[in-house]
Amino acid sequence: MTNDTYLYFSDDFTKTKASTTTADQLVTIADGAPFTAMMDMDIVEADRTGGTGFFHNGLVSLKLNAAHNDASADVHLFGSHYGTVADDAEVEVHPQAATYAAGSGDGDFTLKTVAQDAVYGITQSSTAGENGFTLTLNRPYLNDQVIIKPASSIIGMQTVDATNTKLIFGPTTNDASNLDTVTLTHGSNKHHLLVASIADVVADPRSNGKVVKFADGFNEIYFDGNPAGITTVTLAIDG
């Protein structure tokens, strides 16, 4: 029976993006890396309270960069879940605090005020500039962020320079003259260790039929303890 080995690669891109700042309970994230296309599925009230949707599922986390809580007239208000929040403290927004709607070129989280949800709500400051949030991507979700290639599609490996090696695969498009490549940046002159690791994966029958996270740059997890010292993963997928 044919049992290939499935090699998992993810890019090591930056995981965070800042929101715009307004004073209307909106947290707007414009399209842009790593959210090249903001999520296209809404989180409605039933998702918020029922624990469903991509926010509850942990795809992203949302943080208020600096609580404004200096006893002035424009402070943030926090639900009981957050306890006592110090001025300028970072605050992790609970998924039950927000609904979400996809916009055109952006995505909008709408925070519940404390009056609307006394436990998880956050009432924004009346001063827009105090309402800076950061959205963090916790798992890859878009094309070019992660790829799985069957080991049988390896065409070869090629050194680029002292610290880069390119793994070359048959293209996902199956076009005659194109390729998928994964370029790994590693310790100087460690190519032989990288090649040995690939050979270990492909030749080991225990790998057959399994997904092997060879270079999960997103989570900085590398096969076999990363003997080659991989630091960067760059995907070039034939689209």
Partner: protein, 107 residues
């Protein structure tokens, strides 16, 4: 023995189901937009130098987990060599973990 992956995204009709040999599997990546789907690529079913693809819809925000679930199924040593990845019309069939449904098949 060859292994095949089976997909069905809607009621029996032309182009709504496919049985594809894993020997022709090219790879997988998430879709261009959204949070809930990814594509499996195979050599073109008409044998042209092109690809056929199947969209798999994951549970909301669980794309990577669904990808791993599908590949675990592809690699399993099942009895008859046919791995059902997604079937939207067989009411007795439960899709793989984190897989919500089988999306469109593009021959």
């Amino acid at each position: 023995m060859k292994k095949f992956a089976y997909f069905q995204d809607a009621a029996d009709a032309a182009g709504k189901a496919a049985l594809l040999p894993l020997d022709n599997y090219l790879g997988c990546e998430p879709t261009v937009a959204g949070v809930a789907s990814f594509r499996l690529f195979f050599s073109k079913v008409n044998n042209a130098a092109d690809r056929s693809q199947v969209v798999i819809n994951a549970n909301n925000g669980r794309t990577v987990e669904a990808i791993e679930s599908v590949h675990a199924a592809l690699g399993a040593n099942n009895k008859n060599g046919v791995v059902v990845i997604g079937d939207n019309i067989d009411t007795t069939f439960t899709n793989l973990e984190h897989v919500a449904s089988c999306g469109a098949f593009t021959a």
